[in-house]
C-alpha cells in the first residue's frame, strides 16, 4: 500500500495534539463501523439467541439449535450446490470467453474488428430492464430443449435448467470490455519476439499474453462470482423450481414460507449461512481489491 500522509513531525504540531487527532480519527471510524458492520454482527448474535433472551443485547446462553433447524427445514445443501454450479460455471465461461475475445479484438487484425469493439461498448449501456423480459422468452423458446420443437414451441425450453443461468451470465459486455482494455495496455514487443521465434497466434496467446493478463482475469472472476452468487432476480425469473433454486432464492422462499412462525432467529440463521461463503472468499482476496480498482476503474 502506498502511503499518503507525511510523518506528522514534519508539520510540527505538538505531540499531544497529534495523539488527540489520531484518537478522534479512530473514534469516527469506530462509530462508522458500528453503523455499518454491527447489523451483520447483530444478525449472527440473533441467530444464536434463544427466544427467552431476545430482549437482552448479548445472549448469555447462545445456542446453535436454530442453525440445525434451518438445515432441516431448508434444502441448504441442494441450494448451495446450485449456487456453486451457477457461480463457478458462469465464472469459468465468462473469463475464458472474454479473455479470448479481448485478445482477438486487440492483438489480431481482421475486418470488422473495430465495429465489433464499438458494439461491445454500446451494449455496455443497455440496462437490465430492456433485457430481462425478452431474455426470458429466448430461454423459454430455446429450440430442442425442455420439450421444445425446432422452432422453440410447445415446451418450456431452458426454464428451470442451470444453463439458463450460466449462459446469459457468460454473455458479458463488461467482461469483454475489461479484458480488451487490459490487453490494450500490454506491450507488443513480446508478441513480436515470439513471432520471430516462429510461434503461432495461439501459442502467443497462451504462453505470452495469458500470464500477463492474470490480474484482469482475477478482477473479472471476482466481479462475476460476486454478481452470480448474490443474484436474485434472474434465478427468480428462470429457475425458481425447487430442484434448481439457488441459495438466494432458497433463503427468501424460506422466509415467506415460514412467515407465520415469526421466528426471527431462524431467518437470521438462514441468512447468515447464506452470507458465509462469500465472506470467507472475500477475506482471502482482500489484498488485490483496492489496487486493481485504482488501475482499472479510472480508465
Amino acid at each position: 500500500m502506498t502511503t499518503l500522509a507525511v510523518p506528522e513531525a514534519m508539520s510540527a504540531p505538538p505531540r499531544r495534539r497529534f495523539r488527540a487527532r489520531r484518537l478522534a480519527l479512530y473514534l469516527c471510524l469506530l462509530v462508522g463501523v458500528v453503523i455499518t458492520a454491527m447489523p451483520v454482527v447483530y444478525m449472527l448474535s440473533t441467530a444464536v439467541t434463544p427466544t427467552s433472551e431476545l430482549r437482552s443485547w448479548v445472549p448469555s446462553h447462545p445456542t446453535l439449535g436454530y442453525f440445525t433447524q434451518v438445515f432441516h427445514k431448508m434444502p441448504y445443501g441442494r441450494d448451495f450446490l446450485n449456487s456453486l454450479l451457477y457461480a463457478v460455471g458462469s465464472n469459468v465461461l465468462v473469463v475464458a470467453v472474454s479473455t479470448l475475445c479481448g485478445f482477438g479484438l486487440t492483438r489480431i487484425s481482421f475486418r470488422g474488428q473495430r465495429w465489433l469493439s464499438w458494439l461491445v461498448v454500446a451494449l455496455l449501456l443497455v440496462p437490465l430492464q430492456v433485457e430481462f423480459l425478452p431474455l426470458f422468452l429466448v430461454i423459454k423458446h430455446w429450440p430442442l430443449a425442455g420439450g421444445n420443437d425446432i422452432l422453440g414451441q410447445h415446451g418450456h425450453g431452458l426454464i428451470n435448467n442451470l444453463w439458463a443461468l450460466i449462459l446469459p451470465a457468460a454473455a458479458s459486455p463488461l467482461g469483454i470490455f475489461l479484458m480488451r482494455q487490459f490487453f490494450l495496455g500490454l506491450p507488443t514487443e513480446l508478441d513480436e519476439a515470439a513471432r520471430v521465434d516462429g510461434a503461432g497466434t495461439w501459442r502467443i496467446f497462451w504462453s505470452v499474453n495469458l500470464p500477463l493478463v492474470r490480474p484482469a482475469m482475477a478482477i473479472l472472476s471476482l466481479l462475476s462470482f460476486q454478481f452470480t452468487w448474490n443474484n436474485y432476480m434472474w434465478p427468480l425469473i428462470v429457475a425458481s423450481d425447487s430442484h434448481v433454486e439457488t441459495l438466494q432464492l432458497g433463503v427468501a422462499t424460506f422466509y415467506s414460507a415460514n412467515q407465520s412462525a415469526g421466528l426471527w432467529q431462524l431467518y437470521m440463521a438462514a441468512a447468515f449461512i447464506t452470507l458465509v461463503p462469500l465472506l470467507v472468499g472475500f477475506v482471502f482476496v482482500q489484498r488485490y481489491l483496492t489496487e486493481t480498482f485504482a488501475t482499472v476503474g479510472l480508465k
Binding site: G104, L133, V196, A294
Partner: protein, 312 residues
C-alpha cells in the same frame, strides 16, 4: 531451409512487409484466427443481448400474452404506459431512490475513504473489511436482516427509539417512510463499493499538495472539500454513474421486502415491468414500459453530459 521468419502454420512474411504494417499481420489465416478468438463471446452476445433487444422492440408493438398468438397493435402499449399513473409513480419512486442512494452513498464513501486513508497496516484492513461487509451481503440476506431491524414489534430500531422515549414507527408499513427505509438499506449496501473506489483514487493524489495545504493552515474539512474532492472528480463521476444506473434497476430489495407496497409507495419501474409481465401476463405493455424507461435513461444521460460540459 527453414526460414526463421515464417509464421508457424501460416504465410511466410517478408521482413519488409512486416516492418511496414506495424505490429499486426494481415493475412487470410490471421483473419480467420481473429474471428475464431472473438466468436464465442460475440455469439453469446448476439444470442443473449442483441437479439433480445430487437425482440423486445417487436413485442412492444404487439399484445403478446403467453399462450395466445401476438397481434400487432402499433403504439397502443406506449400510450397505455404513458397514461398509467401506476407506472408514472413507479418511475418517480425509482428516480428518487436512485438520486438519493447515489448522492448519499458517494458522499459517505468519500468521507470514509478520506478518513480511512490516514490509517495503515492491520487496522486499515480491518476497517476496510468492516465497511465493505454490507456490500458482500446479497439482496436476500440484506432484505431479511433489514426486515428484522425494521420490524415494528421486535426490531432493534423501534427498541432503540422506545429506549430514548421517541415514538416507535411502522417503517416498512408506513407509506411515507417505506421508500426512505429501502433507500437507507441500499446506501448501507453500496457505501463499501464507493469507499473502495475512492480509496483507490486517493492513492493517486500526490501528498505534497495536501501537505502544502496543511502547512498553510487549512483544516481537515477544508482540505477535503477544496482540494481532494476536485482532484477526485473523475472518480466521483465513475462512482455516481455506476451507482445511479445500478439504482435505477432496483428490483429485488423491493420485491422481497414490500412488493411495491404499502399503497404502491415503494413500487419501482423494474418491479412494475415485472408485475405487468409475469403477474398480469401483458408482455407487450411491459416491453413498451421497458423502452420508455430506456428512453428516460438516455435522456438523463444526455442531460448529464450536457451539464458536465457546461460546468467545465
Amino acid at each position: 531451409m527453414n526460414d526463421r521468419k515464417s509464421v508457424a502454420g501460416g504465410a511466410v512474411v517478408a521482413p519488409s512487409r512486416r516492418a511496414r504494417s506495424g505490429r499486426r499481420l494481415r493475412s487470410p489465416h490471421e483473419a480467420a484466427t481473429g474471428i475464431a478468438f472473438v466468436s464465442p463471446a460475440i455469439l453469446l452476445l448476439l444470442i443473449f443481448f442483441v437479439v433480445p433487444i430487437f425482440f423486445n422492440l417487436y413485442i412492444s408493438f404487439t399484445n403478446y400474452t403467453p399462450g395466445t398468438p401476438a397481434k400487432f397493435i402499433g403504439l397502443r402499449n406506449y400510450s397505455t404506459a404513458a397514461r398509467s399513473s401506476t407506472f408514472k409513480h413507479a418511475l418517480a419512486h425509482t428516480l428518487i431512490f436512485a438520486v438519493a442512494t447515489t448522492i448519499a452513498s458517494a458522499a459517505l464513501g468519500f468521507t470514509i475513504a478520506c478518513v480511512l486513508n490516514q490509517i495503515r497496516g492491520r487496522s486499515f484492513r480491518f476497517y476496510r473489511l468492516a465497511f465493505y461487509l454490507p456490500g458482500l451481503t446479497s439482496v436476500s440476506v440484506s432484505a431479511l436482516l433489514w426486515l428484522y431491524l425494521y420490524d415494528p414489534q421486535v426490531g432493534i430500531l423501534n427498541r432503540l427509539l422506545v429506549a430514548v422515549h421517541l415514538p416507535p414507527q411502522q417503517w416498512l408499513q408506513d407509506p411515507h417512510l417505506a421508500l426512505a427505509c429501502i433507500i437507507a438499506m441500499a446506501v448501507w449496501m453500496s457505501l463499501g463499493f464507493s469507499m473502495l473506489v475512492y480509496l483507490g483514487g486517493l492513492q493517486n493524489i500526490p501528498h505534497e499538495i495536501v501537505d502544502a495545504a496543511r502547512v498553510d493552515g487549512a483544516g481537515a474539512l477544508t482540505r477535503a472539500i477544496r482540494i481532494i474532492a476536485p482532484m477526485l472528480r473523475p472518480v466521483t463521476l465513475f462512482v455516481s454513474v455506476v451507482l445511479f444506473i445500478q439504482s435505477m434497476q432496483v428490483f429485488s430489495e423491493v420485491y422481497i421486502m414490500t412488493n411495491g407496497g404499502p399503497l404502491d409507495s415503494t413500487n419501482t419501474s423494474v418491479l412494475e415491468i415485472y408485475k405487468t409481465a409475469f403477474t398480469d401476463g401483458e408482455f407487450g405493455l411491459a416491453a413498451a414500459m421497458s423502452f420508455v424507461m430506456f428512453a428516460m435513461l438516455v435522456v438523463l444521460g444526455l442531460l448529464g453530459s450536457l451539464a458536465r460540459r457546461r460546468s467545465d
